[in-house]
């Protein structure tokens, strides 16, 4: 005889504001098989959990229904509580009357009735629950870090230093990411490359890190502890083992006018190239889209000049497969291009540039060797207007969020300009100055007070070109909306930080959720900031939302700590909610007819064939067999099984029918 305990949570007022919890408890107490039914303000609190534990012992409960929030939230909490009281944790179920009921309906009898119905279905289900034991699977202690910017570098080094293997995958020819493009960093004005490049070299040299550049994730399957990651190594048209990185090919390459990605289009590169002098690895790749040989079928100058004969024109993409226990996403961000701004000229004015382009102009390794010269004619600009919030905080541009980094880097840009061009005048149009990091506000004050950067609070309505000048028309809202017009030589837009190109596609490959701006979503905005909703996949840095360097590095170390924590166990405990093929005594053995439809539909390749033999070794029957280590409990095979021979533990046919019947036979 079932003895079920029902525990109705008020969740403060989250549930009780619209659902009459007392009534739910009272009605539920009369359901057949219910031994005890109580309501409580905070069931997840310590006294609330004790209520559950005491009831289990006192009423000798055979099952528990906690009717509260989503099982995603507190199922583990209450299952642990049940286990502590000696009840098998899989005999505890959550009835979600918060997300599925109280939050989405108005207060009223119908809402309470719905909560009662939800509780009834779970009571009927839990009566049919069986005690289950968790399964343990070994963990592959290798982490795949996707993205080789500062986030990926930090995370990879942390994990590798903890003694675990790391595979780093970077789609560009070199690691380094956006940080390697930056000139100097706020709030200390130390050189970005000086602090980053040693870390890049550390990655390349670390015995625990395998680095794949010019590589992309082809596919990922498996799950936490045992991901199978297939990596596409794009052809570099080069034998890296033979190449010494002497650079002769780059010097002689006849195609020299390709806008350099690293220089943000302000400088040129050749068709065979390394993105920048400090690149890691410092060996070139051939850009096949622009290489004369691949376009016209002849040239091969690089092959002729290569002293070690390292060029391989016929090299094809290759693949490596990695067994990984965890994945770490550190794919970074991009910035909105100036072409997205109709009011500032749709990108048609050469001297209207974005923040990353200004970084290159100010960088000692940049196209102007660190001199601030405008792109159109190479003149030193006498006046530069910086426009903050270009695209950010602007619903009209579809980006209502604050990009967070622009206030600081714009202050830095204006400061760097003033340091390099003493007679120059920097103006900054801004909405608010958000300088909330350590030493950040002081930095902005320094820009205003010492470097005399002219801050104008207001928006710019239009930028247009006239007689070689850029006319910037805006408004000064601190002067009661006075129109302002500035004849500038250059305009720098602090364009919004956006999700990196390809992030949506990658998220879909990895089954990681992402927001409407295509940034990857964390599992919980406060308490799980570096986890994703997919177990075993972690986030670091600006792929989640734009972040500055300190924040990115902190997030990367946080994510690395999570990976190292996971790898500190040899076996991974998993819920046994997996599919099984039902067996029966001889002479039937199993109702499975051996159609093997399930093998074809299983997305995880978890099903194979099992031969049932008699004691002489003769095959009696061949049936399906599900590998418990690979099965994810998705249930696809259950739906396809014609003979109803497959069940999901914890969600078997009886249980699901009981739930449905409970709704229908009210």
């Amino acid at each position: 005889m079932a003895r079920i305990g029902v525990f109705i949570c008020h969740c403060g007022e989250n549930i009780s504001a619209t659902v009459d919890c007392e009534k739910v408890a009272k009605v539920a107490s009369e359901f057949p098989g219910v031994a005890v039914s109580v309501d409580y303000k905070y069931m997840c609190s310590d006294p609330g959990q004790n209520l559950v534990k005491e009831a289990i012992i006192e009423h000798k409960l055979t099952g528990v229904v906690v009717s509260a929030c989503s099982p995603r939230m507190h199922e583990p909490t209450f299952r642990n509580a049940c286990a502590e009281a000696g009840l098998n944790p899989f005999l505890c179920e959550m009835a979600n009357i918060r997300e599925h009921c109280s939050w989405v309906h108005e207060k009223g009898d119908a809402t309470t009735q719905k909560a009662i119905d939800i509780v009834r279905t779970l009571v009927e289900k839990v009566k049919r629950n069986e005690a289950l034991a968790p399964i343990y699977v070994p963990i592959s202690k290798t982490a795949v870090v996707i993205g080789g910017g500062v986030a990926g570098i930090q995370a990879a080094l942390d994990i590798a230093d903890a003694g675990h293997k790391v595979v780093m995958v970077e789609r560009e020819p070199s690691i380094g990411g956006h940080m390697s493009q930056l000139s100097e960093t706020f709030p200390t004005l130390d050189c970005s490359q000086c602090i980053l490049t040693p870390r890049m070299v550390d990655v390349a040299r670390h015995p625990n890190i395998t680095l794949y550049t010019y590589a992309e994730i082809e596919s990922v399957d498996g799950s936490i502890g045992n991901f199978n990651v297939k990596i596409r190594l794009k052809s570099k048209s080069l034998d890296e083992k033979v190449c010494t990185g002497c650079g002769a090919c780059i010097q002689k390459c006849p195609v020299k006018k390709i806008p350099s990605e690293f220089e943000q289009g302000l400088g040129m590169r050749t068709a065979i190239y390394v993105p920048f002098p400090q690149a890691v690895p410092n060996k070139p790749v051939i850009d096949r889209k622009n290489c004369t040989y691949y376009i016209k079928g002849k040239c091969k100058v690089c092959e002729i000049v290569c002293p070690t004969k390292a060029i391989r024109f016929d090299q094809e993409d290759s693949f490596v497969e990695v067994q990984a226990g965890a994945l770490l996403l550190a794919t970074g961000f991009d910035v909105l291009k100036t072409s997205a701004f109709p009011e500032y000229g749709y990108g048609k004015y050469k001297d209207v540039i974005d923040g990353l382009q200004f970084e290159r102009l100010a960088s000692a390794s940049g196209p102007t060797k660190g001199e601030i010269r405008r792109p159109s004619d190479g003149q030193i600009p006498k006046k530069i207007v910086f426009i903050a919030c270009a695209g950010s905080r602007d619903p009209a541009k579809g980006r209502e969020y604050c990009s967070k980094i622009c206030c600081m880097y714009t202050a830095k840009h204006a400061m760097l300009y003033k340091h390099k061009v003493h007679e120059g005048t920097p103006y900054i149009f801004y909405m608010d100055i958000r300088a909330t990091g350590k030493m950040y506000e002081e930095f902005v004050r320094r820009a205003i007070e010492e470097d005399e950067v002219k801050y104008i609070r207001g928006r710019v309505s239009q930028v247009y070109e006239k007689n070689g000048k850029l006319i910037v028309r805006g408004v000064d809202t601190l002067l009661m909306g006075q129109p302002v017009e500035i004849e500038a030589d250059m305009v720098v837009l602090a364009t919004a930080g956006i999700a990196n190109q390809g992030s949506e596609e990658l998220a879909q490959k990895l089954h990681v959720s992402y927001d409407k701006h295509k940034f990857f979503s964390e599992a919980h905005p406060k308490l799980k900031p570096v986890e994703t909703n997919t177990a075993g996949i972690f986030l670091a840095g600006a792929c989640q939302s734009t972040k500055d360097i300190p924040e990115t590095v902190a997030a990367a170390s946080g994510a690395a700590a999570k990976v190292v924590g996971l790898f500190s166990n040899d076996m991974l405990k998993r819920d046994p909610l997996i599919a099984i093929v039902k067996k029966s005594p001889p002479p039937v053995y199993s109702s499975c007819t051996g159609c093997f439809m399930c093998i074809q539909v299983c997305p995880y390749q978890a099903i194979d064939k099992e031969e049932i033999k008699d004691r002489n070794g003769n095959i009696i029957k061949t049936i399906s067999h599900i590998n418990p280590g690979l099965c994810q409990g998705c249930g696809t095979c259950v739906a396809f099984c014609k003979s109803k021979s497959i069940d999901i533990l914890g969600y078997n046919h009886d249980q699901v029918y009981a739930e449905v019947s409970a709704l229908l036979n009210e």
């Binding site: 109709p342 000229g345 070109e465």
Partner: protein, 301 residues
Amino acid sequence: MQKKIGYYPGCSLEGSAREYNESVQTLAKAFDVTLEQVPDWNCCGATAAHNLNKVLSFALPARILANAEKAGMENILVPCAACYNRLSMVQHELGKNESLRNEVNAIIEADLKCNLKILNIIQFIQMFISDFVGDKQQLLFNKKVACYYGCLLVRPNDVLGFDRAEDPQMMDEVMKSLGADTIDWPFKTECCGAGLSVSRTDIVGNLSGRIVKEAADRGAEAIIVACPMCHSNLDMRRPAIEKAIGEKIDIPVIYISQAIDMALGKTQKETGINRHFVPVNIELKKKEAEPQVVIEKTEEK
């Protein structure tokens, strides 16, 4: 083939912008398009109504739309940019807001479907004229022109869905097809001063002055417009403009429909350019026969 379209001229086209009406009529006639006036039409409310009373500002255009719907019209041409904007905005709002639609329906005693296709002059030209100009064009519009769209034709972009809100291009395309050289300039949608024309001509002089001067500085020989308000500010208020900028500028302001009429070789009376305050002293070049025609003739021989 006889083509038919509903026509809402609005008050301007019967008064200060009657030459706009004349040129549209001439244009329609030249391409066999019948302009069927919306029966018993009224004022669109202009800027005045929505400053006074929200419901009134919906009811006035709604009545026009209802009359057009009742007359079985599917699309209507609204040459005045302000009327076009009001009618489009109201149809959009009433289309998605059922309670407001019911309220307005009750006032105007109608049952609005809100499914009219409302065309501005440029859309009309694209639909009924551009593809058929061909041989009808007699004169080449061989001038450097500044296309000036004003604020009402392209905004708000998510409602009107016409051209791009900054730096629009459609009028430029029409003018280029007539042989004109259109200048790339930043003031295509700049404010002309609009209704301040009456109360504060000095402000209009300043605002419109910027526009006219910019066009002149960039070498335009004519400004092409599609809005009676813009036209009157740039043309009729030229003395105020000249006072504001301290400079005499004599570039004429021509409606897009007039420009096409001129290229078709229509008379001053037919195009209505004789009614302008700034004289339209533009000599267009005779269009040379197209080379293909010559080739065909030689083949015949």
